[in-house]
Symmetry: C2
Subunit: 163 residues, 2 copies
């Protein structure tokens, strides 16, 4: 780590885009910027509102799609919520190779996998650095005869502020 060189938090993400031969456009940097502002998930609609119609919904849609398929974002859904959420993947340089095109395409290998808890009162989303214990996974495989390839775990509750 050299001293004096300013660290651009966007740099590893832009590198990842270039590596995926995806153009680094103003549009995409703008969307990425929102994700870099804080550890906060966004939806297509919330991003579009936040960006003030400075560009089209379909452009936000395709920016999200590009960032997701390039391995910068991951997607998840919550019961009782209509919209799909996206959150920034930490350490994109270590994440799995990009997968299928288009939103809604199946997510592949879990890069820096984690889960979420959402406040049922104020909607606050908190990221959790936990995962399903290996022991439980084994139990599931034994009990079902399946080989597990994917799992999804979401919590809902009441946040510290709303308690």
């Amino acid at each position: 780590m050299k001293r004096g060189e300013p660290v651009d938090p966007a740099a590893p993400y832009l590198d990842r885009l270039r590596k995926a031969k995806v153009k680094v456009t103003a549009n995409r940097q703008r969307v990425l910027g929102r994700f870099l502002e804080g550890d906060k998930p966004w939806t297509l609609q919330s991003l579009h509102r936040s960006l003030g119609r400075e560009f089209d919904l379909s452009s936000v849609y395709r920016a999200l799609s590009a960032l997701r398929t390039s391995g910068l974002l991951e997607e998840f859904r919550l019961p009782g919520e209509k919209e799909t959420f996206f959150s920034l993947i930490k350490h994109p340089e270590k994440s799995a190779a990009p997968g299928a095109r288009g939103l809604g395409a199946k997510t592949r290998a879990h890069p820096h996998h984690h889960h979420h808890i959402v406040c049922r009162d104020c909607g606050l989303v908190s990221h959790l650095d936990i995962c399903v214990p290996a022991g439980l996974m084994g139990k599931v495989e034994d009990a079902s005869g399946f080989r597990i390839t994917e799992h999804h775990l979401e919590f809902k509750g009441v946040c510290g502020n709303c308690k």
Copy 2:
């Protein structure tokens, strides 16, 4: 348990409806019937297709809504899937009091809770009698400062037949 009396698997569910002062209609019994045929999640659309347009989509919608808010069904969503899934709650007689009206309304306390694993190749759904370990729940509450009221866990994989 008296001998000779036929056991109707629908009975406890219909009781629950009556207890909630929700009318037991042909429509609702029909939808409930599909859930009783097997431990399989349904969506609004898959149910509507399965019932062969014998009744309207909005009727299926409202039947699901009624069964859900009466505590007979629970709802969940999966990343990469557009539709909302519903699954039958086991032992509805022990489940929590009915909550808010309408689909998409928040789910409350989980009665006789369980989870599923779905085969990514043939769609087979297997019921799992496991749940998130209490220790993990505690860790989540400590790390997030939330009080957990609800959780959703789904597995995907390859079943014994498709392996």
